[in-house]
Symmetry: C2
Subunit: 222 residues, 2 copies
Amino acid sequence: MEIALLGGTGDIGEGLALRWASDTDHEVIIGSRDAERAANKAEEYRTELDSRGVEADVSGYENSEAAARATVVVTAVPAYHLTDTIEAVADDLDEGDILVSPAVGMKRDEDGMHYNKPGAGSVTALAADAAPEGVPVVGAFHNLAADRLATPDADLDVDTLVVGDDDDAVETVSGLTDAIDGLRAVSAGGIANAAEVEGITPLVINIAMNNDDMHDVGVKFH
Amino acid sequence: MEIALLGGTGDIGEGLALRWASDTDHEVIIGSRDAERAANKAEEYRTELDSRGVEADVSGYENSEAAARATVVVTAVPAYHLTDTIEAVADDLDEGDILVSPAVGMKRDEDGMHYNKPGAGSVTALAADAAPEGVPVVGAFHNLAADRLATPDADLDVDTLVVGDDDDAVETVSGLTDAIDGLRAVSAGGIANAAEVEGITPLVINIAMNNDDMHDVGVKFH
């Protein structure tokens, strides 16, 4: 399968790119607003993977071209860039392609991080509103510690919560999740349930801030 | 230490009562609006514990009397009864006593459970607003599956998130948490961070609804 990571030059995009390239046979396509930056990052990831003996299929393109080449398109961009990123690639998505949204809106104050709930109900719902007809949106990968994900030697053994209204799309994304060693997809239901999922991200940041040795903490349900 | 469980006849109260009575030497006092109901529940818990070879110090009183006898008072009541429960026992609390709030406001729709954020910012903040001067409030035990907690043979191996603005009170409640076998207190910071903690409760219910074999699921941060 071809997976595009729009914003694949950022921290969560890097982690997903390296993990999918290492742990699966899927083709990983790094997207950026800047084609050269995307190509350079793809080269950097290939070099890093090569140094670990992994011959990886990672390429880099401007976001539109990356989206056009992929079946699953992960919008690994900040929440405030989500809508315009989706709109910019809308014409490059085919019916049946899947958009995956890991973005969370947060605000920081003196106490810590807080979930900044959009008017749409959640950031995943924002993505669904922006997505073209026939392209289902799945929320996933919100609560992964980016540094830990991007460190191939770091054991994950964590869950990621998956929300979506299209069962086939949820199944595909859950499969891509389970294909990463140490990562398990756990369904939290439909997009209407996304706010509670996205709220985990500020929570794990607050936990990291308030406990020794809980930096880069993940979550496991059992 | 004397621990009162107001609403100790309900499910989360039962679990905490049985666990503290089994795993610690603390005195457990069941509170209810009905003194006879409290006394009967305490008798029931003692009988259950006795059948397991545990000679437990569990008594039952009307809420005011239970609060008066305790240093730590857990308001194990639904969110909509929290303020009136605290007001009803305000005169029975001494300066330095600690109120512990495990309540979460939720609403259900066809998709699942959702966090119902109070105007105060969180249910823990509501409790803090209702608490008398000099009585710190700590939010804890929100995200424990009641049935699992109340089943002494069930392994917990889960975390509970603790929030509070009074460091000594947080330390006391964290100690009481860690004293239960298989339970670990994890700080999520001040009461301003309580909403993200309380939001875990609808999330774990949605997880239980959407996954086989994840009934009574708990959460672990690592």
